[in-house]
Structures are given as structure tokens and as C-alpha cells.
């Protein structure tokens, strides 16, 4: 019962208490300098001059206009991202074709491009000196330095998130369930709604959360295409920049603290989706091993 061989190494595998606490303390000190204290700074500066000034900054018409624009951008970007993510994941994981790895790499491409370049490609395409600039000008269509440009730049930077979450999961789940459904006579939509979607819903939600957070917070790309027209093309992060550069620090940090709350909520939902996704995956793995599938 008391086998010393089983206990001995297990105890020795862990560092002595002083070393353990030293390592924990250094890790926490590092995280404090770069994460925790900066987080605290936002709230302390936002409420520095009392709740009244914080509320005044949050209720300012310019802030309200920025929030409205950001919400509009999110509402336009999300459905397209979800549609693309589902289509890309379906075609990549359910079928075999040449160039699959290339396609997967190309989907990740926007993540490696600098936000400034992500914005400038649309200026090069649709700007006054851009490839389509003269044609757009003659038809009086404004894309860059207007809302459509902001939507396009946000679409570009949030492009991979949903697909990236779905592809590995759907690859791991395999096609057995879908194939069984077909042999039982299910139609395409039935397969998707009844068989695939219930398995991938948490990963899908996770992708949606990530792309929403990025769409709300994107700064570099949007900054290039926005043109900074007050009340018209200012999103919430750009509004923070303007307030900060005008030395209106309390207002800047008040609006910033709203963004911090959104990102903390994102982290919480992300954790929840991760946990749920793992549960669904484990359940499926059990069924799979019982059925003796791949």
C-alpha cells in the first residue's frame, strides 16, 4: 500500500516551497508590470474626478455617435464572417481536394499582416489615386474615408477568426455523423442544422466572440481608412485617441474603460465557450470510440 517508489519521485518532482513561491512571485511581478497595473490605470484615471465626470464623458453625443458607428460595423461584419467561416470550414473539412493546405494558410493571412497595411490596401484600391478611384469618383461613390471603408477594413482583419476555430474541431469530429445522416435520408439543411451545428455551436460562438472583440477594438486598419470625420467616421477606439490627444484624459479613460469592460466580458465568454466546447468534444469522443469509428 505504501509503496515508497510511487511516492518518492512524486514528491521530488516539485520544487521546494521557497523556490516555488519565488517563481510564482516573479511571474506575478512581471504580469503586474505589463498587465494588471495597466488595467488598473484605466479605471483609476476614468474615475479620478468622480463618477459624474465619468458619466458625462460616457453620455457625450460624440461618444454616442462613435458607439453607434462601432455597433453598426459589428452588425455588418459578423454575419459575413459567420457565413464565410461556416462555408470555408465545411469545404475544407468535409471534402478532399488539392491545395487544401494552401487554402488554410491563405485564410490565416490577414492575421500576419500589419493593421496599417490592412487599411492601406483599401486606400490603394479605392482611394482618389487608387485603381478604382477615378471610376468611383465619377459615380460619386465614397468607400475610403467613409463608413464602407471602415467596414471593409474591419472585415479584412476579422476575416480568419470563425474559420480558424471551426476547422480544427470539424476535422477532429470527422464525417461519420453526417454520412450516417445521409444514409438515413436526411437533406442537406437537415444535416447542417441537426447534425453538424449542435457539435460546433460552442466553437462557432468562440469565433464570433473573438471577431466581435477585434471588430470593436480595431484601431490601426480603421485609422487608415477612416479619414477622422467627427461624428461620421469615428469608431470608439478612434474616439479614445482623439480625446487623449486633446489632453481630455478623464474622458479618454472613461471611454477606454467601456472598452476594457467589453474585453473582460470577452475573456469570460471565451472561457465559457472553451469549457463547453471541450465537453461537447469529450462526449463525441466517447460516442466515437463506442461506435468503433475513426
Amino acid at each position: 500500500m505504501n509503496d515508497p517508489r510511487a511516492v518518492g519521485p512524486e514528491l521530488k518532482r516539485h520544487e521546494t516551497a521557497p523556490i516555488r513561491w519565488l517563481l510564482i512571485a516573479s511571474a506575478i511581478a512581471f504580469l503586474s508590470l505589463f498587465l494588471f497595473i495597466p488595467l488598473l490605470v484605466v479605471f483609476i484615471n476614468a474615475f479620478r474626478d468622480g463618477l459624474a465626470l465619468f458619466l458625462a464623458a460616457a453620455a457625450d453625443p460624440q461618444t454616442a455617435a462613435a458607439i453607434r458607428l462601432t455597433l453598426l460595423v459589428v452588425a455588418l461584419v459578423l454575419p459575413l464572417n459567420v457565413l464565410f467561416g461556416l462555408c470555408a470550414a465545411w469545404s475544407i473539412t468535409k471534402f478532399d481536394f488539392r491545395g487544401k493546405n494552401l487554402l488554410t494558410t491563405l485564410i490565416d493571412l490577414p492575421l500576419t499582416v500589419s493593421p496599417v497595411i490592412s487599411g492601406s490596401i483599401f486606400v490603394l484600391l479605392f482611394g482618389a489615386q487608387g485603381a478604382l478611384g477615378p471610376w468611383l469618383a465619377s459615380h460619386q461613390i465614397r468607400i475610403v474615408f467613409a463608413v464602407p471603408g471602415i467596414v471593409l477594413a474591419t472585415l479584412f482583419v476579422t476575416f480568419p477568426y470563425v474559420a480558424r476555430e471551426l476547422i480544427p474541431l470539424m476535422q477532429a469530429l470527422g464525417n461519420d455523423n453526417e454520412e450516417t445522416a445521409i444514409s438515413l435520408g436526411a437533406g442537406s439543411w437537415q444535416i447542417f442544422w441537426r447534425v453538424t451545428l449542435p457539435n460546433i455551436k460552442w466553437a462557432l460562438l468562440y469565433g464570433i466572440i473573438l471577431s466581435t472583440a477585434r471588430a470593436i477594438g480595431e484601431f490601426g486598419a480603421v485609422s487608415v481608412v477612416s479619414g477622422h470625420i467627427r461624428g461620421k467616421t469615428i469608431t470608439v477606439p478612434l474616439h479614445v485617441e482623439i480625446l487623449y490627444n486633446e489632453y481630455n484624459f478623464v474622458a479618454a479613460f472613461s471611454v477606454a474603460s467601456l472598452l476594457v469592460l467589453v474585453s473582460l466580458l470577452t475573456l469570460f465568454l471565451k472561457r465559457l465557450a472553451e469549457w463547453k466546447r471541450q465537453q461537447v468534444f469529450l462526449e463525441n469522443a466517447e460516442h466515437g470510440s463506442q461506435g468503433g469509428g475513426n
Partner: protein
């Protein structure tokens, strides 16, 4: 070119939509950068890419990104180690907050770090006593880039460390190795691929970063101007040839890094399979 070997429906519809969307939104706009730069003469491209201001910007962007990724490799490793191996109060909160730099808008990170590390900020004032300037200096750029890259290193090392088989370590200990020897000769080599992948991811992210740096750097040409800011400045001056050439150069670097990261990830995964 494409072939279908499945009874599952929807291939042409989903594939068609995916390719069209990818082409219209990503590939055609990105190719514009190369198309536009190909209209410039070779001499002009050289003049733009090797101008003193551009060279100074590369030096800062690559240098600061390397330092930040290096700092993150060391401390990210430590954070991953502590989160996987030990238990302490509020651990799951700390674990969740590691992702903050990915979720937090870069502009918010920028103004917060600038305030904190400026000469009259909490940490900046301490640094100033030692004669070190935090915000509005090259150090400021490194600070912002370290913040941005942290989760990439932690999140790449964490799963590998979690999967590491305790029996391997126990075997080393039973054979008479000290704890430190076991760490250096058994554990560390198995974590090298993941750490390198994390380093490369943090470096790639830092190289393109704009939002947080623009606040903290002070944006002085030749000293604290990063490449993305230089591209932005050229665009605002309507100097499209310079902006395009610089963007094309940085895109080539990004593609190269993407290739390196993919190879590292492949190596890391193979390494991991061998271990477990």
C-alpha cells in the same frame, strides 16, 4: 483541379463562396500593393527602401520586436510554468487575464501604458529617478510590444507543458539526476520547439503593431518611428509610392514569417507526438 470524394453535399456552393470571398476581400486588395510597387522603377524602390529614415525605422521595428519577443520568451515561459505546475490563490483569474492583450483594443493599451510609464506615472516616475525614460523613448516601444506579444508565448508553451509525461521526469530523478539537471536536460529540450514558435508568433505580432506603439513612442522620425507608423505618415502625405514600396517590403517579411511559423508549428507538433 478540385476533386470531390464524398457523399456529403454542398461542395461547390461552400467552396465557391469561400474562394470568391477570399479573393475579393483578401487576395485582390493585397495584390494591389505588389501591383502598385511593380509600377515603380528599381532605382526608385531602392531610394525609398534604403532612405535613412526607413533604415532607422527598420532598425527600431526589428530591434524592439526582437527584444520584446525575447523578454516574452523568458517571462512567458515562467508564467506558463507557474500556471501549469503550481497552485496559488486566484490562479484561474490570472490564467484568464493572460489573454487580455489579445482582447483589449490596442489604443486602450497604448494610452494606459503611456500614462503608467510616463515620467509622472506610477512606474515611470520610479524609472525617472534612475535616469531611465519610459514613455516617449525606444524603451517605451519595447514595453508596448512586450505587452502585445505576451499571450502568444504563454499559450504556445502551456499545452505542451501540460502534456509532458511525468514519467519521463520521474525516470530521470530515479536515475539520480538532480531537479535542476532534469529541468535542463530532460524538460527544457522538449519545450524548445514550442518556445521558438511562441517567440516567432510574438515577433510577427510585434512587427506589425501600430495602435499601442503610436501613443507610447513619441513618434520622432529617425529615433522612435516604427515602420507601420512611417507607412501611415507617407499615406497621410499622399506619398503613395513610398507607402506602397514599404508596405510591399513589410508584407514580404510577414509572408516569410508565416512560412517560418508554419514550419515551426509542424516541427513542434511532431516533437510533441514523439514525447507523449
Amino acid at each position: 483541379m478540385l476533386r470531390q470524394r464524398s457523399i456529403i453535399p454542398g461542395f461547390s456552393l461552400t467552396m465557391g463562396f469561400s474562394l470568391t470571398y477570399l479573393g475579393l476581400l483578401v487576395l485582390i486588395p493585397l495584390s494591389m500593393v505588389f501591383l502598385k510597387s511593380s509600377q515603380l522603377s528599381g532605382a526608385e524602390i531602392c531610394r525609398i527602401l534604403f532612405s535613412p529614415r526607413a533604415l532607422a525605422a527598420y532598425q527600431l521595428s526589428f530591434g524592439a520586436s526582437l527584444i520584446a519577443a525575447g523578454v516574452n520568451s523568458v517571462f512567458g515561459f515562467l508564467v506558463a510554468w507557474v500556471l501549469v505546475r503550481y497552485s496559488f490563490p486566484l490562479k484561474s483569474l490570472v490564467d484568464a487575464l493572460v489573454d487580455l492583450p489579445i482582447a483589449l483594443p490596442t489604443a486602450v493599451a497604448g494610452i494606459s501604458l503611456t500614462t503608467l510609464y510616463s515620467p509622472n506615472g506610477w512606474i515611470g516616475s520610479t524609472l525617472a529617478q534612475w535616469g531611465i525614460q519610459g514613455s516617449y523613448s525606444r524603451l517605451g516601444v519595447v514595453i508596448a510590444l512586450t505587452f502585445i506579444g505576451l499571450p502568444f508565448v504563454v499559450r504556445t508553451i502551456q499545452p505542451v507543458l501540460k502534456d509532458a509525461d511525468p514519467e519521463v521526469e520521474e525516470a530521470a530523478l530515479c536515475l539520480g539526476a538532480s531537479r535542476w539537471q532534469t529541468f535542463l536536460k530532460v524538460l527544457l529540450p522538449s519545450l524548445v520547439p514550442a518556445t521558438l514558435t511562441g517567440f516567432a508568433l510574438a515577433f510577427a505580432r510585434a512587427l506589425g503593431e501600430y495602435g499601442s506603439v503610436v501613443f507610447i513612442s513619441g513618434n520622432m522620425p529617425m529615433t522612435t518611428e516604427i515602420v507601420p507608423l512611417l507607412i501611415m505618415t507617407k499615406l497621410e502625405e499622399y506619398d503613395y509610392p513610398s507607402a506602397t514600396a514599404l508596405a510591399a517590403f513589410m508584407l514580404c517579411v510577414s509572408f516569410l514569417l508565416l512560412f517560418v511559423i508554419n514550419s515551426l508549428q509542424w516541427w513542434s507538433q511532431r516533437h510533441r507526438k514523439k514525447l507523449s
